[in-house]
């Protein structure tokens, strides 16, 4: 799965969590720019990402990502390790 596909899936998960079908994100997007993307919704999104991608985050990783791009990179790295 490439970065664009991962980002699109992350967008869909975020849209479902914050209940906003029109939300748009790019690599530079940070949570503070998106209404309702608060810490609890971030956790909910992470858990949905874990379920949909079949991966697992460490607690430290959840707060480590600075922006959407970081999160996408983290997901891709985990998927790549699984496929290796």
């Amino acid at each position: 799965m490439d970065r664009d596909e991962i980002r699109a899936k992350v967008r869909d998960i975020l849209a479902e969590v914050i209940e906003d079908d029109n939300v748009e994100i790019e690599d530079a997007t940070v949570a503070e720019e998106v209404p309702d993307w608060d810490s609890i919704n971030h956790v909910r999104m992470i858990v949905d990402i874990e379920a949909q991608f079949g991966i697992r985050f460490e607690i430290e990783e959840i707060t480590r990502s600075e922006n959407v791009g970081d999160l996408v990179d983290m997901i891709k790295a985990k998927l790549d390790r699984q496929g290796a």
């Binding site: 503070e32 608060d38 810490s39 609890i40 956790v43 909910r44 992470i46 858990v47 959840i62």
Partner: protein
């Protein structure tokens, strides 16, 4: 800050919080938005007390704010992750919570300091406090005897003890650390005159003293117990007939020492009823940023306030109908 309302203490606390933790500003703004004037007024009264306690603490107000941040990021967040993954709290046994939390004075100190600040900052906590101040305490008639079980940071007990006309006031806890914390807070606030703090196990207290209280408060206690119905029954034994029990429990609210999962207001009401009380009043307040409907649908944190009355009181009970 609040449509012309005079809220100097809340303004000051919020300013210092955001100065110390700028990234929390949006959350705080969201939490403060839409609070009714009587809630804002209660939050301001609470902020005054928080600032007083902070100024007397070794690490100052900034220390309290740091502990609040620690609560949000290091205590609640990992538990929230577990709860969302598994749909249940991480611990279910009191002895495990005791080992991880209650036996750790450093953690408990920071935890209680963080909760103290959250009472004014988190929307559900602020609304619960306003409910206590504006709805519950006015129900206590002159001379009413009042007990808080597990007074923790001491702020709820302080406002009961300083209510004009209130009778004897007691605070019970099984933790020496918690009792010391409550005592320090009341001393710092100059409110020890009519308050007796006792190191007492609610269950072991049994019939000692009999039904002595017109009013008992259990705020954020029942979720820490394996059998909350037994705790309500035990508390009920200390209530006079017609006396009131004010319960505040968080539903779907993971924390390292929350072992009983309340699923919502109806669940909380059922526990109080099973404990032998008639429900007099109940209300639920959703977490910051969520409507009650959304919080229920998404299993987000909701604070549930349930007021029960012990049957058998005379029609002209010392506790008035509100």
């Amino acid at each position: 800050m609040f449509d012309g309302a005079d809220t100097p203490h809340l303004d000051h606390l919020v300013a210092r919080l955001i100065e110390r933790w700028p990234d929390h500003g949006d959350y705080v703004a969201k939490s403060l938005a839409g609070r009714a004037p009587e809630v804002v007024s209660a939050s301001d009264a609470l902020a005054r007390v928080i600032l007083l306690l902070g100024e007397r603490a070794a690490a100052g107000v900034e220390g309290l704010i740091d502990d609040y941040r620690f609560l949000c990021e290091k205590i609640v967040l990992p538990e929230e992750l577990h709860f969302r993954r598994h749909g249940r709290y991480r611990l279910a046994k009191f002895e495990d919570a005791e080992r991880e939390c209650y036996a750790n004075p450093l953690l408990m100190g920071r935890y209680m300091n963080g909760l103290l600040v959250s009472e004014a900052v988190w929307s559900n906590h602020a609304h619960v406090f306003a409910e206590y101040l504006n709805d519950y305490l006015p129900r206590l008639a002159s001379g009413a005897s009042h007990l808080e079980i597990g007074p923790g940071h001491g702020v709820f007990l302080y406002f009961a003890a300083t209510k004009p006309g209130v009778g004897r006031v007691e605070g019970w806890d099984i933790s020496p650390t918690s009792i010391a914390k409550t005592r320090d807070a009341l001393q710092a606030l100059g409110a020890t005159g009519n308050v007796e703090l006792r190191l007492t196990d609610l269950f072991a207290a049994g019939a000692a003293g009999g039904a002595r209280f017109d009013s008992i408060v259990m705020s954020e206690i029942l979720e820490h117990l394996e059998d909350p119905v037994a705790a309500v029954r035990a508390a009920c034994r200390h209530l006079k007939p017609g006396g009131l029990l004010w319960v505040n429990v968080p539903a779907n609210s993971p924390a390292p020492d929350h072992i009983f999962l309340f699923e919502g207001l109806e669940h909380a009401k059922g526990i109080v009823e099973q404990g032998g009380l008639a429900i007099e009043h109940s209300v639920a307040f959703p977490m910051t940023g969520a409507t009650l409907e959304k919080a229920v649908r998404r299993k987000l944190a909701v604070s549930c306030v349930v007021l029960g009355r012990k049957p058998g009181g005379p029609p002209d009970s010392t506790l008035g109908n509100h």
